[in-house]
């Protein structure tokens, strides 16, 4: 009987699990419960992905009220793809978190950590599944509030300033999105995304709608840390607990990229955003500046978590670059990079968390000689690092390949060249850390044990995923390609959404 409810389950399971988690009280129990719920969500998301690829869009009416009067949950290939990323990474991070937070978060707050994690998961899943613009804002608020809490949980007190900064920027971003949604409502009288799309196409050049779009794009850009609105991200990812950095770096900003794709392609329409408003050039320029400026910033940091954080901003540049190419192939590349980047950044932050656990530091000096002392952790770091650079046989290569192909398809030779040049900077910032780990001797008299098994297992699962999706691309590229085709050609998407409305639900 759960089958027909599956589109809504990834949202409501963690949502009801969060309060239960806090009632459980004991941290061990909360950990088991949260991991179980998250894994369940992952299983359902995979099921959703297979169903959408097979049968088309899934629509579910909350409360039995048909849209646009009620709220609709609408899962298509793009939602299902990112949903798999989010729930999958969340499950791995939760397994990893038990050992990791033991050192980084005060033991009285472990239950709060799991509760906030589940709330964040519920919020992110809600953003990905909903078919309603205002409902998206509500879930954005849940995930954001939980995120600020997660960042502030570290026992290192510098996380408080970072979380506060994130809170202020994030709230401005969310407010801008709300203003934009309000303007759309004012002009169309609806909040359902498909209904909005149909009614927006009737008004081509309304100042209210243009302004609404501008507010939404700026708001989402803050959330996804698009250059130059990324200043909140490096301190937040640096000072957050490692498990939180791993989770957020591979999910939160990706979900914001998804929101941008949703607003551009599903609601306003690519024609409107790119041709009428000319947003493609602005996004392209910002993406390229992000890639170079932030990759460069990553090469000069001494804190390895800061290196990874700046690298994240640069990698987000690649995703936006794909979107701004205004083609199905470009969008495929962007969506594919959401998936692949989650795999690599998750693994990198997990490896750094393991180093922090053993050495007590994430400074590049702490990595000296770790290649011998923590061989498994550093091998994982190396493979994920190669994936960031885009070495063949890793997932990162596939992303870069599709980006370059998409740029060449549009005759954008310079863009293709710049994508490749950006990888050179990645070689430098990854290389510096590998050099310290493998070619420098450890400080005298220090010996460190290998990371605990409970951290190594999720880490290596991600590393194997990096290799697997670098070799067998049929699954990841297939899903991204289907998602991009449905997004760019709304007419070709299955017109009759597979309705899972129950009988007697509507009157």
């Amino acid at each position: 009987m759960f089958e027909q409810h599956s589109p809504v389950l990834p949202i409501i399971l963690p949502l009801i699990a969060a309060p239960i988690c806090i009632l459980l009280g004991r941290s061990q129990l909360a950990w088991l419960f949260a991991t179980f719920i998250s894994a369940l969500g992952f299983g359902i998301s995979i099921g959703l992905m297979l169903t959408t690829l097979d049968q088309g869009v899934l629509s579910y009416s909350l409360g039995g009220w048909e849209p646009p009067w009620g709220i609709e949950v609408r899962v298509d290939a793009a939602s299902a793809l990112v949903l798999c990323v989010v729930t999958g990474i969340s499950s791995l991070v939760l397994v990893y978190a038990k050992e990791s937070i033991a050192k980084e978060i005060d033991s009285s707050q472990h239950t709060l950590y799991y509760t906030a994690h589940l709330l964040c998961l519920a919020g992110l899943s809600g953003i990905l599944s909903t078919g309603d613009a205002f409902n998206l804002f509500v879930f954005l608020e849940i995930s954001s509030l939980a995120t600020y809490t997660l960042v502030s949980l570290a026992s290192d007190k510098r996380c408080l300033t970072a979380a506060f900064r994130y809170l202020i920027m994030g709230t401005i971003g969310a407010t801008f999105i709300l203003i934009g949604v309000g303007m759309m409502y004012m002009k169309t009288g609806t909040l359902n995304m498909l209904d909005l799309a149909a009614r927006i196409s009737e008004y081509d050049s309304s100042r209210t709608l243009n302004t609404g779009l501008a507010f939404i794009l700026v708001g989402v850009s803050i959330k996804l840390a698009l250059f130059p609105l990324h200043m909140w991200l490096p301190p937040a990812y640096t000072h957050a607990p490692s498990a939180v950095s791993a989770f957020l770096a591979s999910t939160a900003t990706k979900v914001a990229v998804y929101v941008m794709v949703r607003f551009i392609f599903t609601i306003y329409g690519a024609e409107y955003v790119f041709h009428t408003m000319g947003m493609d050039t602005i996004l392209l320029v910002l993406a390229i500046v992000a890639i170079f400026k932030c990759s460069f910033m990553a090469t000069v940091q001494s804190n390895v978590k800061t290196v990874l954080a700046y690298s994240s901003v640069a990698q987000i540049g690649y995703m936006i670059l794909g979107i701004s190419l205004v083609s199905t192939l470009g969008l495929t590349a962007g969506l594919l990079h959401i998936f692949n980047h989650a795999l690599m950044k998750g693994a990198l932050f997990m490896a750094v968390g393991a180093v922090l656990l053993r050495t007590g530091s994430v400074d590049i000096k702490a990595f000296q000689g770790l290649g011998k002392q923590m061989p498994l952790t550093m091998a994982a770091f190396t493979i994920a690092g190669l994936s960031i650079i885009g070495v063949p046989l890793t997932a990162g290569f596939v992303s870069k390949w599709y980006l370059v192909t998409a740029a060449l398809e549009q005759q954008e030779w310079t863009v293709a060249f710049l994508v490749l040049a950006g990888s050179l900077l990645a070689i430098i910032y990854v290389g510096r850390i590998l050099e310290a780990a493998y070619f420098k001797n450890p400080a005298e008299g220090t010996t460190y044990k290998e990371a605990p098994l409970l951290m190594l297992i999720p880490l290596w699962i991600l590393v194997f995923a990096n290799i697997y999706f670098g070799i067998d691309t049929s699954m990841s590229v297939g899903a991204a390609d289907t998602a991009a085709q449905w997004l760019t050609q709304p007419s070709s998407s299955p017109a009759t959404a597979l309705s899972v409305n129950m009988g007697g639900a509507t009157q």
Partner: protein, 325 residues
């Protein structure tokens, strides 16, 4: 006439906002924020949005003011001088303001019944909700049933906020042999508070259960009930308040409210409907809607009450600790 009232109120709103920007005394700023909220509430009344006005008055002017004062008790009331350059922020604000004005140039005429917002989705709510849901207050119908999923989300937002504050500040410990604190010497205050607290709690219950018929509902009721206990804590001291409602109980209550709401959703699920479809909760759909709405409003009320009060406890507990040291 309503236009004139609107103009006067908006003018006062602008003056209040300007004053807030230039004042350095944060205590006065908090008071002005309260005034700002009351003025907004009046504008909402003038727009016939009584439910929104009620929420704005109780949340914006009431509980937020108390929480901000709680913050000031910890941080001090003078604004620190700011050495940052103001040029860039000013530029950003001017551009944002200009964009907002530009966006309103094409806005549908104010209050016109032919506006899209009045013509597209709303007519169904107005025409069919009396038969489909059977509540005289359509606002409750929309927020609790048609868009009940949003309200579940909002309840989770309140819960998430409480989790955030608890993780940062922690709850005060409940001590049995508490020292008498509070405003012991203010006899008038103590007598008046004793009179007002029970009446306020009674009013909160009225707002909670009358939300189906008039303005009100779980959000406002939760806030009003929390305000009653906060008043008690302010006059008789935090230890007395934690003696009445223990902090650990509050933490559980905040979770239980969300559980009631989401649990109602799951109940309709097991009775064969979609998530949050209240029609299946009873043999008669309209009766089912009533049961569902009462349950979820209760969930909202419990979570909002517990979240607001625990946030206050967390602030007041910090202040108390600071005083002892």
């Amino acid at each position: 006439m309503t236009e004139l009232i609107d103009l006067v109120l908006l003018g006062m709103l602008a003056i209040t906002a300007l004053r807030i920007i230039f004042l350095k005394d944060l205590f006065a700023v908090v008071m002005l924020f309260g005034i700002y909220s009351f003025l907004s509430a009046l504008i909402f009344v003038n727009l016939d949005a009584v439910d929104v006005a009620f929420t704005e008055a109780s949340v914006g002017a009431g509980i937020s003011t108390v929480l901000m004062l709680g913050t000031l008790a910890l941080t001090g009331r003078k604004e620190k001088t700011n050495n940052h350059t103001t040029f860039l922020p000013l530029l950003v604000v001017v551009i944002t303001g200009a964009a907002l004005i530009y966006g309103t140039l094409d806005m549908p005429p104010f209050g016109d019944p032919d506006n899209p917002a009045q013509q597209h989705v709303a007519p169904r709510y107005i025409q069919d909700s009396p038969q489909e849901i059977g509540l005289p207050n359509m606002v409750t119908s929309v927020l609790a049933s048609y868009r009940g999923f949003d309200t579940l989300g909002e309840t989770a937002v309140v819960f998430a906020a409480a989790i955030g504050v608890l993780s940062l500040l922690g709850l005060p410990k409940h001590e049995k042999a508490a020292i008498e604190s509070g405003l012991k010497s203010h006899l008038v205050l103590r007598v008046v508070a004793k009179l007002i607290v029970p009446l306020t709690l009674l009013f909160a219950l009225y707002v909670q259960f009358h939300g189906d018929y008039g303005p009100g509902g779980g959000f406002q009721a939760g806030v009003i009930a929390a305000a009653a206990i906060i008043l008690y804590a302010l006059v008789f001291g935090l230890p007395m308040a934690t003696h009445v409602i223990q902090p650990t109980l509050l933490k559980a209550l905040a979770a239980i409210g969300v559980l009631i709401y989401a649990g109602t959703g799951f109940a309709s699920f097991f009775l064969g409907g979609n998530f949050l479809d209240y029609n299946v909760l009873a043999s008669d759909p309209v009766a089912g809607q009533h049961i569902g709405i009462i349950l979820i409003e209760l969930g909202v009320g419990v979570t909002v009450f517990a979240a607001m009060l625990s946030i206050f406890y967390a602030f007041a507990g910090q202040a108390e600790r600071a005083n002892i040291q």
